[in-house]
């Protein structure tokens, strides 16, 4: 097996909700190799998004460990986590989460600026060109279509060329034709850069284009084989 990018062991996540505790992830273990494309599938509430969020260090698990690129994510503090996210991964959300007060190019420039890149706006412009949005660079999110917004979000996620790209239902808010374009874009970027891509989806067509699918149900992995 190639170099391991993500190693998850016995991951448990419980959340308090309405006075009772809900177990969202119940002992998940998996490995993702560097350069692999993995689809995480499962019905709503199966814990897909939570898994992705925990890999990104957006929250702390109740138990278990996560290693990304050799770094033990669960052991990092707030500031170290921020640095880790900046250097190691890009994140694409179902509902884009662009910053409404920034133009497209400024949105893409945010991670570049946070990392102290030189000429961040110029770099952001060329990233936008890569996703085919050079013409729309100075528009605000509200002036862009859903597909365009998601492309801006992808450009932002790959702005620093991270070795790992996480995508949470990237096509969930889009019609099927636009969704297909977005998937092409993600896979294309993955091929060009040789980065690792983990995407959460319940779209079987999308999952079939990944190298491997992991199915979650009730917080457990029900299959982990190559597709």
């Amino acid at each position: 097996m190639a170099l391991v990018m993500i190693r998850v062991r016995d991951l448990v996540m419980r959340l308090a909700s309405g006075g009772r505790t809900v177990t969202i992830l119940d002992g998940v273990s998996l490995d993702v190799a560097a350069g692999e494309v993995v689809a995480v599938m499962g019905p709503s509430g199966s814990g897909k998004s939570t898994l992705l969020g925990l890999i990104a260090g957006l929250d702390t698990p109740s138990a278990g460990s996560i290693t990304v690129g050799g770094i033990e994510v669960t052991g990092l503090g707030e500031t170290a986590l921020a640095r880790f996210r900046r250097r190691t991964l890009g994140f694409v959300f179902q509902s884009y989460h662009l910053i409404p007060t920034l133009t497209a190019v400024e949105n893409v420039a945010v991670p570049l600026e946070l990392a102290g890149a030189s000429r961040p706006l110029a770099a952001a412009r060329s990233r936008l060109a890569e996703v085919g949005l050079a013409e729309r660079a100075d528009h605000y999110p509200a002036q862009l279509s859903g597909g365009e917004q998601q492309r801006v979000a992808i450009a932002r996620a790959v702005a620093l060329a991270p070795p790992l790209l996480l995508a949470d239902e990237p096509t969930g808010n889009l019609d099927s034709a636009t969704g297909a374009q977005i998937v092409d874009l993600l896979l294309g970027l993955n091929r060009e850069r040789g980065s690792t891509l983990v995407l959460v989806t319940h779209d079987v067509t999308l999952a079939s284009r990944a190298g491997r699918a992991i199915a979650l149900r009730d917080g457990r992995v029900v299959n982990g084989q190559a597709a």
């Binding site: 939570t50 957006l58 500031t79 007060t101 946070l114 949470d168």
Partner: protein
């Protein structure tokens, strides 16, 4: 990292224009109030310094209630190259016009060379000596207006008939006491001598004004004169220490005004905190996204701090400009109190301080909202539907450093630990009171019956709208109402205190200098004219020369006086002494007992007023020696009295036992109370028959005091208006922050069939209740504040008038309705479908 923060700050500001505009307005108004007061204070100080010589009349002034002793004349004569002007001033009666009306005036007879400093402006512009020659007079225009005279007419003063030759428009050394007794009349020294007003017992102020060559030090000359002139009755002042009373008054005025200004900055702080927390609440998804993208919390907080500080700096500069710009208004309000052109004198240090205060208050008030930036978890981006209560920290303790910081700023502004501490305590109490009221209002709103129709029900529930806009508005507006209503209440307290109608026992007139041979005819005249006989009290003027056998020289007075110049006054003043067998009605003995007939027969006994006794350091058993026309009268103090000076009746600092002053040259003081309609006739009849008698019309003097008080009230109110402005900005900000909720509600209501007018009425209920709560809370606190100030600061008897409170509540409701509708009326016109689709 800071470069990133700067750039983010700049871009993020786009999303919060409305919130940052509110921050800007709040800080600008707060800083504006501080600068307005600071500039006024600096201007007053600079003007006093510039005009010091003119105000004193010279580099050095000697002043006494008797002709200067030979030692003083000799000391002045020895001064090399000094210019010397002698001036006499006294209060007397002037009479003139076809109706023979009379008027209390302040006479002044300057010798040649007057004025040494400053310019005496007269119309026509001619040398004063030429205007006053041959029994000429130059008068203030007020005299012409009140007696119906014109230049060229005759004016009778005592035994001389003068011709009015001109009008005095500006007098450099017009006594800088805030209240004058009557208009000025300039006469020549010869005319004053002929008037017959300068007799035994008349109250003349003898002044010697000394102009020194530029190289002479006024302070040294003053000191050497003070050594040479041992008589403490001669007051000697150099220009740079002149007008201590006026200085103290201005210092106190600006210090109190400064607190009013600080209050408006603190109300601004509420607005800042509210706006920034609304801004941050809107930014939560962005903050979560930025964190997910790898932004460190520190970068984000620095971003928001830069943003708000830049806005506060800009606002501070604009506020400073505003504070300087309203100086003409403040100057106009105080024109009656400041006898010279007020200098506009913005000090860089003071401006910088006010701006720093604005920055400091902004930083402190953004502390808590920015703390919640830290708390926003990155995972929120995956579960935006999670209630903020789950992740938002309990912010109670974060407020402790904020409160401490604000208290420190308040102490810095107040400049005194005690005043600052009182201010901080009062503000904290007011804030907590208003907050409690707002909470109570929400609680009551929840319990009130909801049956009164949709608009009422909806307006009531809107008070509990999430985001807590109700407490904010009630606190901010309530503070402003408190200040404005308290000012009105205190003005009422002081106004009633000096309202003649309120003093049923107070006389209409004090008649001074009734001579022994005039006593009988005077009493008959008053009884015939007014229908009631006057109350006559014999008085003898004397000076305190020794206490317990120790002669009061200047050196002894300097050692004994405990409380500065005010204390010295008790040692050096001319005492008006009287004698009685029994304590006067209304006086209360606090120590010792009244003398018996046997004790009085054995030797002179004295009863001393308690404040005078305290300043003089005398008590029962002390011996006080008075110089009465050259005769030493040694008395033994047997009692200390409390006098109600507010009663406005004849009262004395020192009362002697009968027989103590036998043989001394007495004059009589008379009082009479007549109906207001009979006052003019009585005064004119007395002055016509007895030209030497001075009639002090109590009502008139009280009205002059009242005019001064209302000038002060206007100035205080001007500064308090800044607080009201800030309170309104807070309200506008709070309504803007709830705009989208309000829009959604109004649209949903209308989708369900409500008319626009129902929605408008629901808004009206909400705004009206907010205004009523702020008005009632502010009014209640104002009453408490005014009571405390009246009781402890002004030491005035408390009287309550509900009118300012009622007006305050009504005006606040009206204002809240007006501002509410101006801010939200556009929501009523929105088409529902686009709004619903957007959601």
């Amino acid at each position: 990292m800071n470069r990133v923060a700067m750039r983010l700050a700049w871009r993020q500001a786009r999303g919060g224009r409305r919130h940052l505009a509110a921050v800007f307005a709040c800080v600008a108004l707060g800083v504006g109030a501080l600068v307005a007061v600071g500039t006024l204070g600096a201007g007053l100080a600079a003007t006093l310094a510039r005009e010091a010589k003119a105000l004193l009349g010279g580099d050095v002034e000697l002043r006494a209630a008797r002709p200067l002793p030979a030692e003083a004349d000799a000391a002045v004569a020895e001064l090399a190259a000094a210019r010397v002007v002698r001036v006499r001033e006294l209060v007397g009666m002037a009479r003139g016009g076809a109706r023979g009306d009379s008027l209390l005036v302040e006479l002044k007879a300057p010798g040649p060379g007057y004025p040494l400093y400053g310019r005496l402006a007269t119309a026509p512009a001619a040398p004063l000596a030429s205007l006053l020659a041959d029994d000429g007079a130059v008068v203030q225009r007020e005299l012409l207006d009140r007696l119906g005279l014109a230049v060229g007419d005759r004016l009778v003063v005592g035994a001389v008939t003068l011709t009015i030759r001109g009008v005095v428009e500006a007098e450099p050394d017009r006594t800088a006491s805030l209240v004058t007794l009557g208009p000025r009349v300039f006469v020549s020294p010869e005319a004053l001598d002929h008037s017959g007003l300068i007799t035994l017992g008349s109250r003349v102020r003898y002044r010697v004004l000394v102009g020194l060559p530029p190289e002479a030090g006024a302070g040294e000359i003053r000191a050497s004169l003070a050594r040479a002139v041992t008589d403490p009755g001669v007051r000697i002042a150099a220009y740079d220490e002149a007008q201590p009373g006026l200085r103290r008054f201005f210092t106190q005025l600006t210090s109190y005004l400064g607190l009013v200004g600080l209050a408006s900055l603190l109300v601004g702080g509420i607005g800042v905190a509210a706006s920034v927390s609304a801004f941050v609440a809107r930014q939560v998804p962005t903050i979560a996204a930025l964190k997910a993208l790898g932004a460190e919390t520190r970068t984000l907080i620095v971003t928001y701090v830069i943003q708000t500080q830049v806005v506060a700096l800009g606002a501070g500069l604009v506020g400073a400009a505003l504070g300087v710009a309203i100086q003409p208004l403040l100057g106009a309000a105080l024109a009656g109190l400041v006898p010279f052109a007020l200098e506009l004198h913005p000090e860089p240090w003071m401006l910088a301080r006010a701006i720093v205060m604005g920055l400091g208050v902004t930083l402190l008030c953004t502390w808590a909202p920015l703390a919640s930036v830290r708390a926003v978890p990155a995972w929120l981006i995956l579960r935006m539907d999670v209630e903020p209560a789950v992740w938002r920290p309990r912010a109670r303790w974060t407020l402790v450093p904020v409160a401490l910081g604000l208290a420190a700023l308040a102490l810095w502004q107040a400049g005194s630990l005690k005043t600052g501490a009182i201010f901080v305590g009062a503000t904290a109490a007011a804030l907590l009171g208003l907050l409690g009221l707002a909470r109570g209002l929400a609680l009551v709103a929840r319990r009130l019956p909801r049956r009164r129709g949709l608009a009422w029900r909806h307006g009531l529930t809107a008070l509990q709208r999430p985001g807590g806009h109700a407490p904010r508005v009630v606190v901010a507006l309530g503070m402003a109402v408190m200040l404005l209503v308290a000012i009105a209440l205190l003005q009422g307290v002081l106004g009633r205190q000096i309202d003649h109608e309120q003093h049923r026992q107070a006389p209409s007139f004090f008649f001074l200098d009734v001579q022994p041979d005039q006593r009988e005819p005077f009493a008959r005249l008053v009884e015939r004219t007014a229908g009631i006989p006057p109350v006559l009290t014999p008085v003898v003027r004397g000076r305190l020369v020794a206490i317990d056998g120790e002669r009061l020289t200047r050196a002894v007075v300097d050692r004994r006086k405990a409380r500065g110049e005010e204390g010295a006054w008790y040692f050096t003043r001319e005492y008006v002494l009287t004698w009685t067998d029994a304590p006067p009605a209304g006086n209360v003995l606090t120590h010792g007992r009244w003398w018996t007939a046997a004790e009085a027969a054995a030797g002179p006994r004295a009863s001393v007023e308690e404040a005078a006794a305290r300043h003089l350091g005398v008590d029962v058993g002390s011996r006080m020696t008075f110089d009465v026309q050259g005769v030493a009268v040694e008395t033994e103090v047997t009692s200390i009295r409390r006098v109600d000076w507010q009663s406005l009746t004849t009262n004395f600092f020192v009362i002697l036992s009968a027989g103590a002053l036998d043989g001394a040259p007495a004059t009589w003081v008379a009082t009479a109370r007549v109906p207001p309609s009979a006052e003019a006739a009585l005064q004119n009849a007395v002055v016509a028959a007895f030209p030497n008698v001075t009639a002090v019309p109590v009502r008139d003097v009280l009205e002059r005091v009242g005019a001064v008080l209302s000038d002060i009230a206007v100035a205080v109110r001007l500064v308090a208006l800044f607080t009201l402005g800030t309170g309104l900005v807070v309200m506008i900000g709070a309504l803007a922050a709830t705009r989208s909720q309000r829009l959604y509600e109004s649209v949903v209501l209308r989708t369900l069939g409500a008319t626009r007018s129902v929605v408008a009425r629901a808004f009206a209920v909400e705004y009206g209740l907010l205004g009523a709560a702020a008005g009632a809370g502010g009014g209640l606190l104002a009453t408490v504040l005014a009571w405390v100030v009246a009781r402890w600061v002004l030491e005035a008897p408390w009287t309550f008038d509900a009118a300012p409170v009622v007006v305050g509540v009504g005006a606040t409701v009206a204002l809240a309705l007006a501002v509410g509708f101006l801010t939200t009326f556009r929501l009523l016109g929105q088409k529902p479908l686009p709004v619903l689709r957007r959601d």
